[in-house]
């Protein structure tokens, strides 16, 4: 009697397992099943909350609620709202080094002798590079229409980049996560502190709803200069850091720190390499340059820190390309080239060595 009960239970278990396997494999093939992947959509209430949050951020970072232009209209249209098809006209890529420079900051103030970074002037070396694949675990990041998840691509690119850098530099290359785990932003920063990281590179993918464009941009910490950056920061911070109300205070404490000089340089080197190399293969790709953004993970890492949006998951063709290991290896190579350019004190090579 007992053995029959146990046999029945095992049979039920196996039935459940087979069904799970079957549905899992069907969903892998992109076919619909009861448990197949359903793209998460924001409910209306969440959209309203998002809008209100963005509005509040706009007020916070533009200085006044009475400011006549909270969001520069062109920027919003360029990144989020436009439903018109992309222009067929070629887009002139911006020059990251100049476009990147935020208003009100004079880079000359922060330069060491002969234009070298302060770190070089003080003979500071880079012994540890910390790579931070964005999101992970329960936090999938953005999800492409084909089901590709930002957390997986970011992790894969970071692993490849780690392997590449280990072969090209004497610095120790570490990762904040090397598996699919949920890792709060605070813990990522704690790892940077604990491991005495000298460089911090966070890897993410962009998502531009309603517009089939492919863009590359790289951020370093500072008050955002446009609404789109603020929205992106909100998304990447995803409620894990301090409240947005505290950000202004945090930002103000940052004024004299070394990374105000170093992080933009690192960002520019990475952006240059990413854009110029990607542009050789996809001439339609857009260069959004380097920007400041109030990313929690960049603020608290007390070393040169950047957040690179290396690709754009909302673009169908790009999502397909990201599905090929070769393209992910290319992106890792472009990041590697950017980092090495920075480490060579700006002797920019740009051409990635695949």
């Amino acid at each position: 009697m007992i053995s029959r009960f146990s046999r029945n239970r095992e049979r039920r278990m196996k039935r459940e397992i087979f069904r799970g396997l079957y549905e899992d494999n069907l969903s892998l093939l992109g076919r619909t099943t009861a448990r197949a992947y359903v793209r998460k959509r924001l409910p209306r209430a969440a959209k309203l909350a998002l809008f209100a949050g963005t509005l509040a951020l706009g007020i916070l970072f533009t200085g006044s609620s009475l400011s006549p232009v909270l969001f520069p209209v062109q920027q919003i249209q360029a990144r989020f709202v436009s439903t018109t098809p992309p222009s067929a006209a070629p887009v002139q890529p911006s020059a990251p080094s100049s476009a990147a420079q935020p208003a009100g900051l004079d880079p000359a103030l922060f330069k060491g002798g002969r234009g070298l970074p302060l770190s070089s002037a003080f003979g500071l070396g880079v012994k540890t590079i910390l790579l931070d694949p964005g999101h992970g675990g329960e936090d999938t990041g953005c999800i492409g229409r084909g089901g590709t998840r930002e957390k997986e691509i970011a992790l894969d690119i970071a692993r490849r980049l780690k392997r590449r850098l280990e072969g090209r530099t004497s610095a120790e290359v570490l990762m904040t996560r090397d598996t699919d785990v949920t890792l709060p932003l605070g813990e990522r920063v704690a790892i940077a502190h604990a491991k005495h990281a000298d460089l911090f590179v966070s890897i993410h993918l962009n998502f531009v709803p309603n517009k089939p464009i492919n863009i590359i941009e790289t951020f370093y910490f500072g008050p955002g200069t446009d609404a789109a950056s603020l929205e992106l920061a909100r998304r990447e911070n995803s409620g894990q850091g301090p409240g947005m109300s505290e950000l202004r205070e945090i930002i103000e404490r940052m004024e004299t720190q070394m990374r105000r000089e170093e992080s933009p340089k690192l960002a520019a080197a990475i952006q240059n390499s990413l854009y110029r190399n990607s542009h050789r293969e996809d001439t339609g790709i857009l260069d959004y340059g380097t920007k400041r953004g109030p990313f929690v993970v960049l603020n608290q890492a007390e070393v040169p820190a950047v957040l690179a949006e290396v690709s754009c998951l909302s673009n169908r063709e790009e999502e397909e390309r990201l599905g090929t290991p070769g393209h992910r290896e290319d992106l890792a190579a472009y990041l590697e080239t950017g980092i090495l350019d920075y480490l060579r004190n700006g002797e920019t090579m740009h051409e990635s060595k695949k």
Binding site: I17, F18, G20, D156
Partner: protein, 337 residues
């Protein structure tokens, strides 16, 4: 051919170092996951085959373009050669299984737990050319299935490229029930290689030699004896004591295992944690490291009584489990895959 024999069920374990196949006709074969193509016309004559596998690649390594395509258990680098190499491995394994002419092949293929969806797709693509129906599963799940460990068990599959952990709780394990660590056999090789380079800078040796030493002598805990290996110094073979370096390299992977194990168990329903601790199974080539079972059991003691066992046949445990799954999977599911 009777309808029963229309289909040959096969289970395949695609590994970084070794890949194995278990087939319904009783064939069980494995190869080292190396593929090589002759470099030129002369090399083709020396090798005598258009493509070589496993130990032949090492033997003819000067004459062939060698490729070990599965880094961390997944199709690596993305260059066409690697994808082609995976296809060659699959084709070769299926040939070794010896299907009859006209026989359909239904395959279950094991991949590491954390394989990205896109890599699972890449593996599907590589295998699909040679089989009529295909299911992809995670390796530790296949091992658990082969052992009948469907409920309240933890399988730790220590391979070459990855160590995969999988908790079984009576249903198909989800993402949270599985974890992949990069600390595995290759990691031990790298550690040992660097320790030996530091200790014996004048001696010459390569990673393949280090891997063979590891496979022969690996241990954790108390040394089973002095480990002496031969390495040339200025061309003259000399014996070297590598006991301490071997111990250090093998033990370097253990803290990560213990941490991941305790974390995974701690996340599980507290009512079942004790049951899982008493049902921990080590699989994969790493389970052959002398003393690893005892080390684990001791390390887990502070969390409560634990029972750790090793699978009997680590080389085929994954492919045997995949075959068992293939044979027991209901036919309607196969038809649609």
């Amino acid at each position: 051919m009777s309808p029963k024999n229309d289909v040959l069920f096969v289970g395949i374990d695609l590994g970084t170092s070794r890949s194995s196949i278990s087939a319904g006709n009783g064939q069980r074969q494995w190869i080292e996951s190396y593929v090589g193509w002759p470099k030129d016309f002369i090399a083709a004559q020396v090798v005598g085959k258009p493509v070589v596998f496993g130990s032949d690649v090492l033997e003819y390594r000067l004459s062939v373009d060698a490729c070990r395509p599965l880094q961390n258990g997944i199709i690596k680098e993305g260059i066409n050669r690697n994808e082609e190499a995976v296809k060659e491995i699959i084709r070769h394994l299926i040939e070794l299984a010896g299907p009859s002419a006209g026989q359909k092949i239904h395959a279950v293929v094991g991949v590491p737990s954390d394989s990205l969806k896109i890599n699972k797709l890449a593996i599907r693509k590589a295998v699909a050319e040679f089989v009529d129906s295909l299911v992809v599963v995670t390796e530790p799940f296949a091992v658990a299935y082969s052992l009948g460990l469907l409920n309240n068990a933890l399988v730790i599959d220590i391979g070459a490229g990855t160590t995969d952990l999988c908790i079984m709780h009576g249903t198909l394990p989800g993402e949270d029930d599985q974890r992949t660590l990069l600390q595995a056999g290759d990691y031990v090789d790298d550690q040992l290689f660097s320790y030996l380079q530091d200790r014996y800078p004048r001696s010459t040796f390569n990673k393949n030699m280090v891997r063979l030493w590891k496979e022969q002598y690996s241990f954790v805990g108390n040394p089973p004896g002095q480990i002496m290996v031969e390495m040339p110094v200025d061309g003259k073979p000399m014996l070297h004591d590598i006991t301490a370096d071997m111990k250090r390299a093998c033990e370097s992977i253990l803290p990560a295992f213990v941490e991941a194990t305790t974390q995974m168990i701690a996340r599980f329903d507290p009512e079942f944690q004790a049951k899982i601790r008493k049902n921990i199974v080590l699989a994969g080539g790493g389970s052959l490291i002398a003393g690893i079972r005892e080390y684990f059991q001791t390390a887990l003691k502070e969390y409560g009584p634990s029972t750790v066992t090793c699978v009997n046949d680590p080389l085929f445990a994954g492919s045997d489990g995949a075959l068992k799954l293939a044979q027991e999977m209901p036919a309607p599911y196969w038809e649609k895959l």
